[in-house]
């Protein structure tokens, strides 16, 4: 039970920090970067960096906290991270690929934030995001203290002018030992989901990647998928581009070359699951590897 409570509070923290990114003018991006996505051999290990920074994939800002990382094995069971360290600018960890097939590694966030009034006085719900304690690395300065605000379940009955947004975010990578599998892509029918028609570990520079996005199980048409190749440090321009999902919710992505790409897509609607919330904001992010032909 204690573990469960801890998980819940961590999940809230994750939500707070993940959610801030697309909403602010800042281009700070959360990213996971596997050394490779395709593995052969009898005993493969995937190594991953995880950080928050402007440029992809150049860790110069904050690490993602290891406690946020969730690993799912090809058969759907929970996997584990090993050899994890959190350095000043990034976290690094390994995942022992003990099963053949495609593994999912990522973070999930769920948060509710907004404001309301009591007797004409505005109050806030949810934390103002800041780096969690320890985010500055061992011996670093403590993170900014969150602004105190009212918990969701403490909103008084006489509150008026409720403006509550439910924010759900996921940030994932996929790594495959042997042949790719698709069990982990089975949609749940809830929220914004990644439903790849091209397997994300089967991408080649001269073939477009086709990725379907679903909202509550239905094709998410007309959404903008932002695609950014890594390595901006060695170019003048970021080189990112947007791809709009078609009537079937499919984004057809042409690659500008082999390498690692960061992709993100967001949608907002008025179908939150949280009571009294009025808006739902959903963000899905993935890093994919595109091989040379």
């Amino acid at each position: 039970m204690a573990n469960f409570i801890m998980f819940k509070s961590l999940a809230l923290l994750v939500g707070a920090s993940a959610l801030a990114l697309p909403m602010t003018a800042s281009a700070h991006r959360q990213w996971l970067l596997p050394v490779a996505t395709t593995y052969s051999g009898e005993d493969p290990w995937a190594s991953v960096d995880a950080a928050v920074s402007n440029d992809l994939f150049f860790p110069d800002h904050f690490p993602i906290q290891l406690a946020q990382i969730k690993v799912t094995a090809p058969d759907g069971t929970a996997g584990a991270i090993e050899h994890g360290i959190t350095a000043r600018h990034r976290s690094t960890f390994d995942v022992h690929l003990t099963q053949p097939g495609t593994w999912k590694i990522g973070t999930e966030g769920f948060n509710v934030m907004g404001s309301f009034k009591v007797d004409g006085v505005e109050k806030r719900v949810g934390r103002r995001p800041g780096p969690p304690p320890g985010a500055m690395g061992p011996g670093g300065a403590p993170g900014r203290a969150p602004v105190e605000s009212v918990a969701l379940d403490a909103i008084p009955a006489n509150a008026t002018d409720l403006k509550l947004t439910e924010a759900i975010s996921r940030n994932e990578i996929f790594v495959t030992r042997g042949a790719p599998t698709t069990a982990l892509f089975k949609p749940s029918g809830k929220g914004l989901e990644f439903d790849p028609l091209t397997h994300p570990d089967d991408l080649v520079a001269n073939e477009p990647g086709k990725f379907r996005f679903l909202i509550d199980g239905q094709p998410a048409k007309g959404l903008k998928l932002t695609v950014i190749p890594g390595g901006k440090r060695y170019r003048d321009a970021e080189g990112g581009y947007d791809v709009t999902t078609d009537a079937n919710g499919v984004a057809t992505v042409k690659w500008t070359g082999a390498g690692m790409y960061w992709m993100t897509i967001s949608a907002t609607d008025n179908k939150p699951t949280t009571p009294r919330a009025t808006e739902r904001r959903m963000t899905y992010t993935a890093t994919v590897e595109v091989m040379a032909p």
Binding site: A36, T38, Y39, S40, G41, E42, D43, P44, P100, T176, G178, A179, P180, D202, V204, M291, A292, P293
Partner: protein, 161 residues
């Protein structure tokens, strides 16, 4: 003995019949400070057939390490065939080979059709290369078809039955 002994009977078959086709591959002799024999995959693609692996030469016993960790460096082969095979079975696997000329038989049971022979090499501390040689069975012209790259792989030729 060494895994290369597995290939000995296969090699012996090559010149056995004048009617049999063969595949010849030159692995380049490279003047580099640190040389390791390349991993090589040889396979055949054709319309309507699964890519068919003819041979994989890799370091199956590298000081006790199974060497399969590096098979995915043969990224073309790994994608179309290798990842479905996993550890190559003894019928197609063999030890890495020295620079020079190597000949192996063209599978005798290929049905009439248009095919592409693919030879891919990847070398530790070296490069990666892919050579394609299209051929048709039964042959419509001369007995041979060839192509070359000039880096890891020299000339690749198919001699048709």
């Amino acid at each position: 003995m060494k895994p290369s002994s597995l290939l000995a009977p296969v090699l012996a078959l090559a010149p056995a019949s004048a009617m049999a086709g063969s595949i010849s591959i030159d692995l380049s002799r490279l003047s580099v400070a640190e040389y390791h024999r390349p991993y090589v995959a040889i396979w055949i693609e054709g319309a309507g057939i699964q890519p068919r692996t003819v041979a994989v030469w890799y370091d199956a016993d590298h000081r006790g390490d199974p060497g399969t960790k590096w098979l995915s460096d043969l990224r073309g082969w790994w994608r179309v065939a290798g990842r479905n095979i996993g550890t190559p079975p003894s019928g197609i696997s063999g030890a890495t080979r020295a620079p020079g000329h190597h000949t192996i038989p063209l599978p005798a049971d290929l049905k009439p059709g248009v095919y592409t022979l693919k030879v891919e090499a990847a070398r530790e501390t070296g490069g990666r290369e892919l050579v394609s040689v299209p051929f048709t069975l039964p042959r419509t012209g001369g007995k041979g078809a060839g192509n070359g790259a000039g880096g890891e792989i020299g000339a690749v030729a198919v001699t048709l039955p």
